[in-house]
């Protein structure tokens, strides 16, 4: 059951039951970007308020499985108020965590090449990597955020 408990850590269930930064922002000035996972019907809508090179505010709507929703909620908490460059770094680090090959995960379950301390609470999602079909659930919000930041930059 170890893997299973790794997947559904209490912090993930908490963010699923009580999602942070739930809601909408007025567009404009905020930008709305939507992401879908057509295989399981997960949906997310991100409202991004970018000002002076920083992600001043983020709100989100949507529905889906616990992993997709908790990942979105944890992401919001991690990136809100940060400079865009830092946000992009966090996205990169998280993507690395999700693509970490099982062979590189050390005996204690920790990935060898990702700086977990830099991820803070997001590290709770590391158990997902052992369940390959759920990685796309965890990635949905992050891919949508990347898309949104690219839109703002364009």
């Amino acid at each position: 059951m170890a893997n299973f408990e790794d997947l559904y850590r209490e912090i993930i269930l908490d963010h699923y039951r009580s999602p942070r930064n739930r809601g909408e922002l007025t567009t404009p000035p905020a930008v709305l970007v939507e992401g879908f996972n057509p295989l399981c019907g997960d949906e997310i809508a991100l409202y991004l308020d970018v000002d002076d090179g920083a992600l001043v505010n983020i709100k989100m709507m949507g529905h889906g499985c616990s992993i997709s929703q908790a990942s979105a909620s944890l992401m919001g908490a991690a990136v809100k108020g940060r400079p865009i460059a830092t946000v992009r770094d966090t996205i990169e680090t998280f993507k690395q965590l999700m693509t970490e090959h099982e062979a590189t995960i050390e005996h204690d379950g920790r990935p060898a090449q990702v700086d977990l301390r830099a991820l803070g609470e997001l590290a709770a999602l590391q158990g997902v990597v052992k369940f390959p079909v759920r990685i796309k659930c965890a990635m949905l919000a992050w891919n949508t955020l990347t898309q949104g930041l690219d839109q703002v930059a364009a």
Partner: protein
């Protein structure tokens, strides 16, 4: 009284002896793919060990044996579905989806133009929807849907109106999401009264409901081997000899020709006209073994057994969860097969299935390749449990225990 014994069937299936996450395997995903009894696996092994050669080509002994084995499977299929014209009406394909593509791209492109209609239903699998949309792009045929009622049945109140312009009714024998068994004989009568033909998706029904194409009075029967205890990689397309003879070839290549010259080709007659390339020989041998196994059990006995399990499960799910686990499908066992789709309150189907996996329970989360049906009921996905001849009431016990855990964990 018959000697049907689900425990004996279970003992015949090697995969059911596995232990998953410390639990015996509880396989409730037969609607996606059935498990194979040892007889099927061994028949395929023996074929590869002793008799493998390409069919319809050489004169040496093993090649003749391989051809006899392949054609023997065709005879067995014809017998199993009571094909009035025998094996000359049975085409082997890759799966039911390819059978539908053969129907749409060969028969459909020759017979369905811009003023014609193909009538399908809202509860069809994508295999019986997408090929028609593809044909629509090519010929302009209209694709029309019979709606589904709130009671998960076909809404046939306006059927005569819906039939205007219809040349083909294409309907599933049993919904792979709802478990609903459709009134195929009645639909065949209406179709024929309007001068239309009727095709039946037998993928779910063929091993779980007696299938007699003559008695049902249908024109096409399409199904797949791996949902009837057979192997993957082989499907069946059946139609009357006269209809088959008038169908243009589908895939081109070796095996399907009578002659090829530098200025063109002449297609072969009969089923081989539609079987380009080396066919699935070992799979045909496996399918033949599966049919023999099903005949040994008796499809009527399987129907009774699954009927009992389904009724018991519906009652217990309602009692145990008091509405927190909703059945998306008929609530009683009348005209209903052993496919039970569930909507678990507050828990996403992927999370339900993940928790169930911890108990060794195999169920399917998702849209089950029936997105129009999911939309009809405002759902993105369901968790589907489905029974087979090897299922036991114990499987339902584990399912209910695991569902209770999922509710506790996420509720």
């Amino acid at each position: 009284m018959s000697a049907f014994n689900a425990r004996a069937v279970r003992a015949d299936v090697p995969q059911l002896q596995r232990v998953i996450n410390g639990h015996p395997l509880t396989y409730l995903d037969t609607a996606a793919s059935s498990l194979q009894p040892r007889a099927v696996i061994e028949a395929m092994s023996r074929y590869y060990e002793l008799r493998h050669a390409n069919v319809h080509r050489a004169v040496y002994q093993t090649a003749e044996e391989a051809t006899a084995a392949y054609e023997g499977a065709r005879d067995a299929v014809a017998r199993f579905i009571h094909a009035p014209g025998g094996s000359g009406e049975v085409v082997f394909t890759k799966n039911a989806t390819e059978s539908f593509n053969l129907l749409a791209k060969s028969w459909g492109s020759a017979h369905l133009g811009s003023t014609d209609v193909v009538l399908v239903t809202e509860m069809e699998h994508h295999a019986n929807i997408v090929p028609w949309f593809q044909l629509r792009e090519q010929t302009g045929v209209e694709v029309r849907f019979i709606p589904v009622t709130d009671d998960y049945r076909l809404d046939l109140t306006n059927l005569d109106e819906l039939m205007v312009g219809v040349k083909l009714v294409s309907v599933t024998g049993m919904s792979n999401v709802l478990g609903t068994i459709n009134p195929v004989r009645e639909l065949a009568r209406v179709a024929h009264a309007h001068g239309a033909l009727i095709a039946v998706d037998g993928a779910q029904s063929v091993a779980h409901s007696p299938t007699d194409v003559e008695e049902l009075d249908v024109d096409f029967m399409l199904f797949t081997g791996h949902k009837m205890l057979g192997p993957t990689g082989i499907g069946v397309f059946w139609t009357h000899e006269a209809i088959l003879a008038a169908m243009p070839p589908f895939l081109g290549g070796g095996g399907m020709i009578a002659d090829v010259r530098t200025d063109g080709y002449v297609a072969a007659d009969g089923p081989t006209r539609f079987e380009a390339g080396t066919p699935p020989i070992a799979e045909a041998v496996g399918l033949h073994a599966a049919i023999r196994y099903l005949e040994g059990l008796g499809v009527a006995n399987i129907v009774d057994h699954e009927h009992g399990l389904t009724g018991d499960a519906l009652t217990r799910l309602a009692l145990e969860f008091e509405g927190r686990v909703r059945v998306i499908g008929p609530k009683d066992t009348e005209d209903r097969g052993g496919v039970i789709s569930l909507d678990v309150e507050g828990v996403h189907p992927h999370d339900v299935a993940q928790v169930l996996d911890q108990f060794g329970v195999c169920v399917r989360p998702g849209h089950h390749c029936a997105k129009p049906l999911m939309r009809r009921f405002g759902l993105a996905a369901t968790v589907r449990a489905s029974y087979g001849p090897y299922s036991l009431a114990r499987d339902t016990d584990v399912l209910i225990e695991a569902l209770g855990h999922a509710l506790k964990m996420f509720g």
